[in-house]
């Protein structure tokens, strides 16, 4: 084992943790905004998958990773738009629609991949990274954290940005009121529907880009069902974080790290089935909940459609 602990290996483990964590981070942050506004967005898995597909196709056909992310955001938002129309405007059941959209996204993307790529499996070239001066010189940490594709830095910057929006802007107030007492927001002259729609669309964009990252940078190609439940982990992260973006970041890294740990132990020849290590992050979170039992308090109106004047 010990002669394994080379700089290169540790670096790649840490890098792997980040790579695995970024999609969860984006999904979690996105979901957090929806939930703050009172929409339980179960469709996020589907938004990620569609984002992964559209993002990949765009990057593959244009050769630009940035266009890929743009397309991924657009793809995610397209699904989110459906969700907004059905659940926010019409007030359909959010769980039914969310699950339906996820199933639909799985089917459609798999179909498209089948007709388009199942004989060629096109792959993208590696991404060029943007090393941050000085920081990227730090051994291990440096290359793992500060020598990444610029998008990774942007994703992490979303955390302080959201903190700012939540705490310091009118939008932050609107979102919170929409989730805790929509009637109050309405009476204050702000449209609940518009606020929630915006929140859901933002979630779609974030989830979409998360999927794109997974496809274009995480894997370098698109494979049906490749998100494999990342969206649901995003939902859990958002709920646990209870409106604090910093906690989403922490949670995403925890999950990413545990995946890297799996690899580390195996490559080290430690004989534990992957399933056992897979349980670690979930067990950890459950343990936290059991020990501290802190009331995972969610917005009062979460999941409830808002209809003006109904009591």
């Amino acid at each position: 084992m010990e002669q394994l602990l080379t700089v290169a290996f540790l670096t790649s483990l840490l890098a792997g943790a980040v790579t695995a964590g970024v999609p969860l981070l984006l999904a979690g942050l996105g979901e957090q905004v929806s939930e703050k506004a009172g929409v339980l967005n179960i469709g996020i898995e589907g938004m990620m998958l569609v984002g992964a597909y559209t993002g990949f196709v765009a990057a593959w056909s244009t050769g630009s990773f940035w266009l890929g992310f743009a397309a991924g955001a657009a793809g995610g938002m397209a699904v989110a738009l459906l969700m907004a129309l059905l659940c926010v405007r019409l007030g359909l059941n959010q769980i039914v629609v969310g699950i339906a959209l996820t199933l639909g996204a799985e089917g459609i993307t798999a179909l498209l991949h089948h007709v388009q790529f199942s004989r060629t499996y096109p792959r993208l070239p590696g991404v060029e990274t943007l090393p941050i001066p000085f920081l990227s010189e730090i051994p291990v940490l440096g290359r793992a954290l500060f020598d990444r594709h610029p998008f990774v830095y942007l994703a992490v910057l979303m955390v302080p940005l959201l903190v700012f929006v939540f705490r310091r802007t009118g939008l932050g107030l609107h979102l919170q009121a929409a989730g805790d007492k929509p009637a109050a927001l309405d009476a204050a002259g702000v449209s609940v529907v518009t606020t929630r729609t915006a929140a859901v669309l933002f979630t779609g964009a974030m989830a979409g880009m998360g999927g794109t990252y997974m496809a274009n940078i995480g894997a370098g190609l698109f494979i049906p069902f490749m998100t494999g439940g990342a969206g649901f982990i995003g939902i859990v992260l958002a709920m646990l974080a209870r409106g604090r973006p910093g906690w989403v970041l922490f949670g995403a890294l925890l999950f990413g790290a545990s995946m890297a740990l799996t690899t580390a132990l195996q490559v080290g020849g430690v004989n534990i089935p992957t399933d056992v290590i897979q349980m670690v992050p979930f067990a950890a979170v459950m343990a936290v909940l059991v020990i501290f039992g802190r009331r995972a308090k969610l917005p009062a109106a979460l999941g409830l459609p808002y209809v003006r004047g109904e009591r």
């Binding site: 009118g170 939008l171 107030l173 702000v190 449209s191």
Partner: protein, 510 residues
């Protein structure tokens, strides 16, 4: 005669089965407090809803400064300077006062706490509105929350301020403060609409009175007209308009001397810590069969905690005996079976299960009990239906059918349902919490009559109310609660009002 700021012509609103508003005309003058009266379901809230953009009229015009306007949304109403303090508080509990006041700002704005705090300070100066801008709205008392809503209305440059049953949840003191505030606002030239079920306060605060009945405006009393005649005459006139017939003023009861009978309910040394609340501090009380013990006090001084402890919803230190037997260990159900009943003051959120049928709500406290459920626990719907039918008749509950979801009923009718639920069976001791708030005069009278009838029949009664008139009208003895203690108990009588008032404000009576 000056132009009205806002006037409505032939306003009509239909709901399935009801015409909520039927050709209503109204003119709101600057500097005038326009009182809107009417029984439960008369159409007051609906009228307001149309003025504030929550509902759209089926017919009629709304004119602002003489020009017809379509008020499509609350935002539109606010833009036109029409602000409203709704029957239900419209603040986001998890936001601070300042944040709530900034809630209407555009999404890109940066809420300016300092500026808002300054404006609040200014209002403290000339309007005596005193709220901490950094307090969470959810932590404020109802009175303070209403002040915040009024503050918001003013900050939005409201020229028309509407208050729908703003006083129904306030203490007499709180109501008087609000009234004073209203007058000061009117003095600034605002047009104010004031909805209430309490005639005397309506007359005390208002200049002009309009009365709605079954959606129609059945009369308007001008300031001169009101000034011209004695208060009693005006009241009689209003009651006549509201109910279509003249009525005696609300009945009062001649207090009985402390009864010889031994107390049936004895609570001694009840103490309770409530994080963030006053809780209970060594509260003791006794009630005898047929006796009415009034519990006066400003809202939030431990009345709810006391009621819940007595009813068995909360556990507190100290001991409670019912007919000599210790019942501290028993839960709500067991106490209820022994004849101890509790009428909650929150009919909407605690007393009833909104989506459930009226019939089911009659028995939600007797689930599993015969005759409604068999020994095997199987429901007997016919028994429940029959019981409901009887109760609806006895208590004059106005509902389309016993299968109607109770959430659709007006507060007044909801109140009748839960009152019936508490008074049926072997009621030995009944605790009433604010039994008549939000109810119109007719419902209020009906409810009080029930309470007295039960007492006459030997029920030991604990009457918790923030409405001093109600306490004085019904009680034999009056205990005053303050900061979780019973600060004194006085016999009801001519000089009780003064004594109670002294106790309330902390000037301990001789």
């Amino acid at each position: 005669m000056t132009e009205p700021i806002l006037s409505v012509r032939g306003l009509t609103k239909r709901y399935p089965g009801v015409v909520a508003n039927d050709g209503v005309d109204l003119a709101l003058m600057g500097g005038e407090v326009h009182v809107l009266l009417g029984e439960n379901g008369a159409g007051k809230s609906t009228l307001i809803a149309m003025l504030t953009g929550l509902q759209q009229p089926d017919a009629g015009d709304i004119l602002v400064d003489g020009t017809p306007r379509v008020i499509a949304s609350p935002r539109e109403a606010l833009r036109l300077g029409i602000a409203c303090v709704y029957q239900t508080i419209m603040l986001s509990p998890t936001l601070t006062v300042a944040e709530n006041l900034a809630l209407g700002e555009p999404w890109w704005s940066r809420p300016d706490r300092a500026k808002i705090a300054a404006e609040l300070a200014a209002m403290r100066e000339d309007l005596d509105i005193a709220v901490d801008p950094d307090a969470l709205a959810g932590d404020l008392s109802l009175g303070q929350q209403q002040q915040v809503e009024i503050a918001r209305a003013l900050m939005r440059g409201g020229r028309v301020l509407i208050l729908d049953e703003a006083t129904s949840m306030l203490t007499p003191a709180g109501a008087d403060e609000l009234g004073a505030l209203i007058r000061r606002l009117a003095a600034r030239g605002l047009a104010i609409v004031f909805i209430s079920h309490k005639l005397n306060e309506a007359l005390a605060f208002g200049d002009r009175v309009s009365v709605l009945r079954l959606g129609r405006k059945v009369g308007e009393l001008t300031p001169d007209h009101i000034a011209a005649q004695p208060k009693e005459a005006t009241m009689a006139e209003i009651v006549g308009l509201m109910f279509g017939r003249d009525r005696a003023e609300a009945m009062a009861r001649t207090p009985r001397p402390a009864s010889a009978e031994p107390p049936i309910l004895q609570a001694t040394g009840l103490s309770l810590q409530v994080p963030g609340g006053v809780g209970l501090k060594d509260v003791s009380l006794e009630v005898a069969p047929g006796e009415v013990l009034g519990i006066a006090g400003i809202d939030g001084n431990g009345q709810r905690e006391l009621a819940e402890v007595l009813a068995g919803q909360r556990v507190a230190a100290g001991s409670i005996r019912l007919a000599g037997e210790a019942i501290d260990g028993l839960g709500v159900g067991a106490r209820r079976r022994k004849g101890l009943r509790y009428l909650t003051d929150d009919r909407h959120h605690e007393g009833t299960v909104g989506p459930f049928a009226v019939a089911e709500n009659f028995v939600t406290k007797d689930v599993g009990a015969s005759p409604f459920w068999s020994a095997a626990g199987l429901v007997d719907k016919s028994a429940i239906g029959a019981h409901a039918a009887r109760m609806v008749a006895d208590f004059d509950v106005r509902t389309p059918s016993v299968a109607t979801p109770i959430g659709r009923l007006s507060g007044g009718n909801m109140q009748k349902v839960i009152l019936a639920r508490e008074l049926t069976g072997e009621a030995k001791v009944v605790i009433y919490a604010k039994p008549t708030y939000g109810l119109d005069v007719a419902n209020t009278e009906a409810t009080r009559a029930r309470i007295l009838a039960a007492a006459e029949a030997g029920v030991a009664t604990v009457l918790i109310s923030t409405d001093l008139d109600e306490i004085l009208a019904l009680s034999d003895r009056i205990a005053v609660m303050s900061a979780g203690r019973i600060v004194g108990t006085v016999p009801n009588g001519p000089d009780a009002r003064a004594a109670v008032a002294d106790l309330m404000v902390g000037r301990v009576a001789a």
